[in-house]
């Protein structure tokens, strides 16, 4: 299978193997975390929590055992950058996990790989085996007495919600993947009740690069609140879909220029749980403080029906809601019904307003990130495409 990456153009291509780990082994735990904190690296899975802060909390927690978990449950519609990283740069991810283990004082790492990526398992296991032989995993790594660390890969079983970190931990523990209430956070009560850091694949891959090139290098690009580079998975109506690396803060217009997406009507940034940006707002930037994404960018050409898109996303959430909390379980059904009413031209303005208000309630009242972000696409499509979605006549359905 071909990987339509900009191969050779990613920072990861020029990163020297295991150099980051060597540098980290020469540093104190506090210095490693200090460097990551100084780089302002934020979680690349989409939530954008500062990685250094997370590691610091886990490092400070007292326990006989700690865990490093790599969240490889990439399930957000339109996201495939982790698939590319795991295919082509798996060593970098394992190196990042090892550095995380060193930093927080964990001796065990777990990678939670989504079931859909089972075909990657043999090559990932092989990579781990090579690292064990090279003494980059196992006992006394790098000759540093006392630092033992190994990694085990666990497979998911086809549940999008398990990308949420507490649901992921539940799944690792052998339970239904239902998100927990937070606090307590995984950094003090994680896998098997032990302090656990859960980091995205891409986040961990950036760590060795930061160790080698320094926090200042990473901080030198991006915006005030969003530092560094980001891998974007671009799909949909564009000439060159694939994985691209850009500094955060790039405008949607510039991105479209790069991927051959001229003439797009809208761009969905952040997958099904993200926002739909209309052509008039293509000057907006991809950054945590503007339109944020875990990597998903879907381009919609002028021929696309925005209600088809809203319907597809809501069908997704109705199916993937874990069903634990009412706002998400019932709310998404109501929104989906509403979209179908709009499609048949039977939705009153008052009811449409009710639906938007329901969506806003879900954003506040749902238990986890899935439920809170599930109405985003619907709300942004209603807001930006009123002239297209209202008052449809059956002939145009």
């Amino acid at each position: 299978m071909t990987l339509k990456t900009e191969k050779g153009k990613l920072t990861f291509d020029s990163q020297k193997a295991d150099e980051g780990l060597k540098i980290a082994l020469g540093k104190s735990r506090a210095d490693i975390i200090g460097e990551v904190t100084a780089s302002s690296l934020k979680g690349r899975g989409g939530a954008g929590f500062p990685t250094g802060v997370k590691w610091n909390l886990a490092a400070a927690a007292r326990s006989d055992q700690k865990f490093v978990v790599c969240n490889a449950d990439e399930g957000e519609p339109g996201t495939f950058k982790d698939r590319v990283i795991l295919s082509d740069y798996a060593d970098l991810v394992f190196e990042g996990m090892t550095i995380a283990g060193l930093a927080i004082g964990a001796d065990k790492g777990l990678m939670y790989l989504r079931a859909e990526y089972t075909y990657l398992l043999p090559q990932l296991e092989q990579t781990l085996e090579k690292r064990r032989t090279a003494k980059l995993l196992g006992k006394d790594i790098g000759g540093k007495g006392g630092f033992n660390f190994d990694i085990e890969i666990r497979l998911g079983s086809g549940a999008y919600v398990c990308g949420e970190e507490t649901a992921l931990i539940e799944s690792l523990e052998g339970n239904r993947g239902e998100p927990r209430n937070r606090p307590p956070f995984p950094v003090d009560t994680g896998f098997n009740g032990r302090p656990t850091t859960v980091n995205n694949v891409e986040t961990l891959a950036w760590v060795p690069c930061i160790m080698t090139r320094g926090a200042d290098w990473f901080k030198s690009v991006g915006t005030d609140k969003s530092k560094g580079f980001k891998l974007l998975s671009v799909s949909g109506d564009c000439g060159k879909p694939g994985v691209y690396e850009f500094p955060l803060g790039i405008t949607i217009a510039k991105l479209l220029e790069h991927v051959g997406g001229a003439g797009a009507k809208a761009v969905q940034v952040g997958g099904a749980s993200g926002n739909c940006v209309p052509a008039g707002e293509f000057g907006r930037t991809i950054a945590f403080e503007d339109v944020s994404t875990g990597g998903s960018v879907m381009v919609f050409g002028p021929q696309r029906d925005m209600l088809d898109i809203a319907e597809n996303f809501l069908e997704f959430f109705v199916e993937e809601s874990c069903g634990q909390c009412t706002p998400c379980r019932e709310g998404n059904r109501k929104l989906l019904d509403g979209v179908r009413m709009l499609k048949t031209g039977t939705c009153s303005t008052a009811y449409l307003r009710e639906l938007v208000s329901l969506g806003e309630t879900m954003q506040l009242a749902a238990k986890c990130g899935l439920g809170q972000s599930s109405p985003n696409a619907f709300i942004s499509i209603v807001k930006n495409f009123k002239d297209e979605i209202m008052g449809r006549t059956p002939a145009s359905v």
């Binding site: 299978m1 071909t2 339509k4 990439e74 399930g75 957000e76 519609p77 339109g78 996201t79 495939f80 982790d82 698939r83 989504r114 079931a115 859909e116 990526y117 089972t118 075909y119 398992l121 043999p122 666990r154 497979l155 998911g156 079983s157 086809g158 549940a159 999008y160 799944s171 690792l172 523990e173 052998g174 339970n175 239904r176 993947g177 239902e178 098997n192 998975s233 671009v234 799909s235 949909g236 109506d237 879909p241 694939g242 994985v243 969905q268 997958g271 099904a272 998903s296 879907m298 919609f300 696309r304 088809d308 898109i309 597809n312 996303f313 069908e315 997704f316 199916e319 993937e320 874990c322």
Partner: protein, 173 residues
């Protein structure tokens, strides 16, 4: 289920528990292995797993029913999962779906009478730049066309069951 089959299953689950451990966190890896071996997790298998791990069978059932890759009803030897996410849909998934139904003679959610194929929808497979995408067991096919459906099905028919999975052969006890 024959008594000898039951005994065999017990031994298999015990062997899996030896491998993955007897604590709760071994539950899903054990269930995944049973699913792969028997194309479903029967009520009896859930009872055996529960006994082995010292938990209530209802706990096992609640886990099996949660995950879309674990099933209580038998699936075909080849589970075809076609991506229904918008990026793939925009590249013509509908027509691939129709051709799959035509060539297999079943609808989505059904299994062929010979127990070979199950046809299902799946959510984003992470192949959005190469849609339409589908999984056959753990094998991924991209840029599938209505025309290529026949060849893919034939390829499956030629590679019979145990080799249908590329990975973790050692799980099949």
């Amino acid at each position: 289920m024959l008594v000898t089959d039951r005994e065999k299953l017990r031994e298999e689950v015990e062997a899996l528990a030896e491998k993955y451990g007897h604590d709760r966190s071994a539950l899903i890896p054990i269930l995944q292995a049973i699913q792969k071996r028997y194309f479903c997790i029967s009520e009896f298998a859930m009872q055996v797993v529960a006994d082995t791990l010292g938990i209530h069978p209802v706990e096992v059932n609640s886990v099996v029913s949660f995950y879309s890759f674990l099933d209580t009803k038998p699936k075909g030897q080849f589970v075809i999962r076609l991506c229904q996410t918008i990026s793939c849909m925009m590249k013509g998934t509908d027509r691939v779906a129709r051709q799959l139904e035509n060539d297999l003679g079943i609808k989505f959610g059904e299994t062929t009478p010979d127990g070979k194929f199950t046809l299902e929808w799946a959510n984003c497979l992470g192949m959005c730049d190469q849609g339409p995408a589908m999984l056959v067991n753990d094998r991924v096919y991209t840029e599938v066309t209505p025309e290529s459906v026949h060849d893919i099905l034939e390829e499956c028919r030629k590679t019979f069951s145990p080799t249908a999975f590329q990975t973790r052969q050692e799980d099949i006890v």
